[in-house]
Symmetry: C2
Subunit: 226 residues, 2 copies
């Protein structure tokens, strides 16, 4: 005869699998061990089962990562949507909050570039941005496409920091730009350090303003702006 379990609190007692439970475990593993441990196998171990079991809930790893991202997006601050003040600054604030979330786990941002989430938190973010664009007088058809670009650029900017920010690789890239000959690459040479000027935040803030101005000033037919 084997021992009876003394209490169901010895372990989480193998709670039945659910989508939410799996995502919760994934977030936990992500916070403690980093995004590249959020694998089907690692999660199966965490949930005390075999990897095959998870495929009942998530068709593949990309879908699982999408669900994790949407879960994290609950932390995006949508306060500025209903607040007072310049609508452009409020869009900037919302996107900055979105990027703050992604910056913590850049490899999640990287997967989000190719597998945009469609969960409730992502929908809320979309709705908030559309409300702000509407408030700013952006025509609906331009807003529909514009919100997509806005999120895409913010996501890509965060994803850029995935892969460990390898300082050697970055130094090499910088050196390549600065070592260019003025004869073959006159404008790169002329700009020089100027290509690297500004902090990440300054560049990002400018990038968002560029997009807002462009979205506002570029009709969907016609080409040139005012």
């Amino acid at each position: 005869m084997t021992e009876e379990p003394r209490s169901r609190r010895e372990r989480p007692a193998k709670a039945p699998l659910t989508r939410r439970g799996i995502v919760a475990a994934a977030v936990q593993v992500m916070r403690s061990e980093g995004m590249d441990r959020v694998t089907m196998r690692r999660l199966a171990k965490e949930l005390d089962t075999g990897p095959a079991s998870l495929y009942v809930y998530f068709r593949n790893t990309a879908v699982l990562h999408g669900a994790v991202l949407d879960d994290l997006l609950a932390a995006v601050d949508l306060g500025p949507v209903g607040a007072a003040g310049d609508w452009r600054l409020r869009i900037e604030a919302v996107l900055a909050s979105y990027m703050d979330v992604l910056f913590e786990y850049p490899s999640l941002a990287q997967s989000a570039v190719s597998a945009r989430p469609a969960g409730e938190n992502y929908l809320r973010l979309l709705e908030g941005l559309l409300a702000l664009l509407d408030e700013g007088g952006v025509p609906a058809d331009q807003a529909a496409w514009g919100v997509d670009i806005l999120l895409q650029l913010a996501t890509a900017a965060a994803a850029e920091h995935a892969g460990g920010d390898d300082p050697e690789a970055w130094g090499a890239a910088r050196a390549a730009l600065l070592a260019v000959s003025p004869d073959t690459h006159p404008r790169i040479a002329a700009l020089g350090e100027g290509l690297f000027s500004g902090s990440g935040e300054e560049r990002q803030s400018w990038g968002i303003r560029v997009l807002i101005n462009g979205v506002l000033g570029t009709p969907r037919t016609g080409g040139e702006s005012a």
Copy 2:
């Protein structure tokens, strides 16, 4: 006694390893078996050696992928840079050519989002875009930051098609957007199908115009545009 090799042409005779040779093998494997077979191990097999040998030339897989991308970038058509005609349309043409290359191997685009290349072909592309922005009268400081956003958005757009364009996942995302309640998400509901309107090319072309207009019309200090 073992057989003497009959000829050194029986196989490529184990040419000595070089950076260029490895990249060439990588491109070949990529074209015949797809990007996710471009691994250190697969390449080592192709080059008739062990995986460890490749680490002499590439610090890790990401760097190798970057070198492959730069190699492919030789195919970008920079003709429009020196041609006549509307500078905006010529920027569009160059970026469209860049995206054509990336669209063939979206997972390469995906890695380019986080590991921008710095090879000779990338530098040429950068130089070409800077020349066009200059021709269009974009101030140098705005061009320096703007060219970065332009490439980032084009790269991200191509990367979006990585991971196999899973039609089920796409359908699910679309359904989620269309199923939203007008009470909780009024603007998403109001836009409805409008969020998905247009072809990829139309959206991309508009996106580039948005960026050009924004870059041209957004000074680096000051905020609001004209």
